[in-house]
Symmetry: C2
Subunit: 318 residues, 2 copies
């Protein structure tokens, strides 16, 4: 069952959410049609700001996203939310429970919300998410919020996708030092300490600021602000307007410093690499890798010799 992609793209650009949903399903499913869709919409892209938002389960990501959507809507912007679950290769991820909390925006046709899994996608999340972002960008959304769950590698994955990375913390959910351990200090452009009405939150803010101050910053570098918030989903929640302003400042810095081009080039590089790797992965799956793996597992072949055999067979020598 093919989709008339040109017509569907036109409808999506005109604000038809079902048409947009259909295009995103092509991305999700890794449809063969995707290639021509991406080709068609490529000239229409490059305008959207991509904001990644991540944090451990329970820090209040969905309420913060919902509040932030309200803030951007109040500023007159079309907003898309892409909730990506990179964590579950088994279920394909993307449980929909959180979406319930986003119902405030359900009747606003300038807001589009979608949970995305990457089942069967050639190249996995690293290739699927940039393609989904491209679809939303081409459909005319000025702000694209990419929400992921997790601490650690998920943050790094978000960082590879987003122009601005917001990391959420909350008191009692692993403190700032734990955040440092998880490697998230390095990927965050902005910190939000949510649940700032809880007693320990000042300490988390202080610790974060100390650690940021200890980091190495050249003149002209971006220094991540730490914003206290009490997000319940509303535009008037404490910290939300401040977060929106900090994001605007980061966007200005991204464009003036040349960092925006650098990040987008890096994102494209990861996307292409993921597509190349996916092809190699397919070739390996059809090779004798299982026989080699059995021999490595039982200790009769060392992994370097096994890899060398596969490289000779599948990777061109220079």
């Amino acid at each position: 069952m093919g989709v008339d992609t040109t017509a569907t793209l036109d409808r999506a650009r005109a604000g038809d959410a079902r048409a947009l949903g259909r295009l995103l399903s092509l991305v999700e499913d890794g449809s063969p049609q995707l290639r021509s869709v991406i080709k068609d919409l490529l000239p229409l892209t490059g305008q959207a700001r991509v904001i990644g938002l991540t944090g451990a389960p329970g820090v209040g990501k969905s309420t913060t996203v919902s509040a932030l959507v309200g803030a951007f809507r109040a500023a007159g912007r079309r907003v898309a939310v892409l909730a990506v679950d990179p964590t579950s290769p088994f279920t394909g991820g993307a449980l929909l429970g959180d979406r319930v909390r986003m119902q405030d925006h359900a009747t606003d046709d300038q807001v589009f919300i979608r949970s995305m899994a990457t089942r069967g996608h050639l190249g996995g999340l690293a290739a699927a998410a940039p393609q989904a972002i491209r679809v939303l960008d081409a459909a005319g959304f000025e702000v694209i919020l990419v929400e992921t769950v997790g601490v650690g590698q998920a943050e790094v994955a978000v960082a590879a996708l987003a122009d601005s990375v917001v990391v959420l913390l909350a008191p009692g959910l692993g403190d700032a030092i734990q955040a440092a351990k998880a490697g998230i200090l390095e990927v965050a452009d902005l910190f939000v300490v949510n649940k700032a009405d809880k007693p320990d939150s000042h300490q988390v803010v202080r610790d974060l600021r100390t650690m940021i101050a200890l980091g190495h910053h050249e003149p002209g570098d971006w220094k991540p602000p730490v914003i206290s918030a009490v997000a319940t989903g509303g535009l008037r929640d404490a910290g939300i307007v401040e977060l929106e302003h900090a994001l605007d400042a980061h966007w200005t810095w991204l464009r003036s410093s040349g960092e925006l081009e650098r990040r987008r080039r890096e994102r494209a590089r990861e996307e292409i690499t993921a597509l190349v790797f996916a092809t190699l992965r397919h070739r390996l799956a059809a090779s004798n890798v299982d026989v080699l793996a059995s021999r490595v597992a039982d200790g009769t072949l060392n992994p370097f010799d096994a890899a060398e055999e596969l490289i000779a067979e599948h990777v061109r020598s220079r």
Copy 2:
């Protein structure tokens, strides 16, 4: 500076912790010597049980690991702990703070504890960790505990490494439903609900058991037990002996069901694949991928065409 690897390996097997540390540094650094070291020690491997232990920051991983080390020591086993931080590609990970809490075992020469980063390792964590496990296995450790921080992809990475995967949760740190969202239900062989003296812990245990019961289990399948614990680092901590017994039961099941061979073959497969991918990644880095990425980023080339160009150049056609 070369290392006389045969002599070093002999000393490591005789219980010399410094010699063992030197071999693990070769792994960490991705030393060219590694290949001959792995070749030498391969015939000595295959005996150790590899137990992965993971959970979000703050659930009490280090105290649980410390207590579990005590339990295995009481049973007369040599135990190694490998604390892997897969989360930070920037610092190389592996902050050492937690090690302080393991000082109970500092004077026991049958216990070896090491934090590992994977800086510069060809193939990253996916290749480095199996090599480190092989070194510890060859050095005669009967139990290897691999501890990682994180929720989500880190769990999946641990699952790919370990014979048994223990997932730690704690009340107030994201409940069982959040755990399901993070995809960890599928990778856990055993659950520990730590901080069981806290009021909400019964609910977490109940929710987990419900979700496990809802899962599909064939006769003969392993059904993950849920163990309540109050780990402070001691052998007599509530739940620790129960955890050790559950791990013994899982080990028996692994061997009788054929699952052990399957998992180890899968681990070897991931390791070999990571080494092959590392080679391709090197080739791509030396190619025109940056030029292609720039064109994809500015919307003048679509990512599929870019990938195709690189595939034609670097991946052999069948």
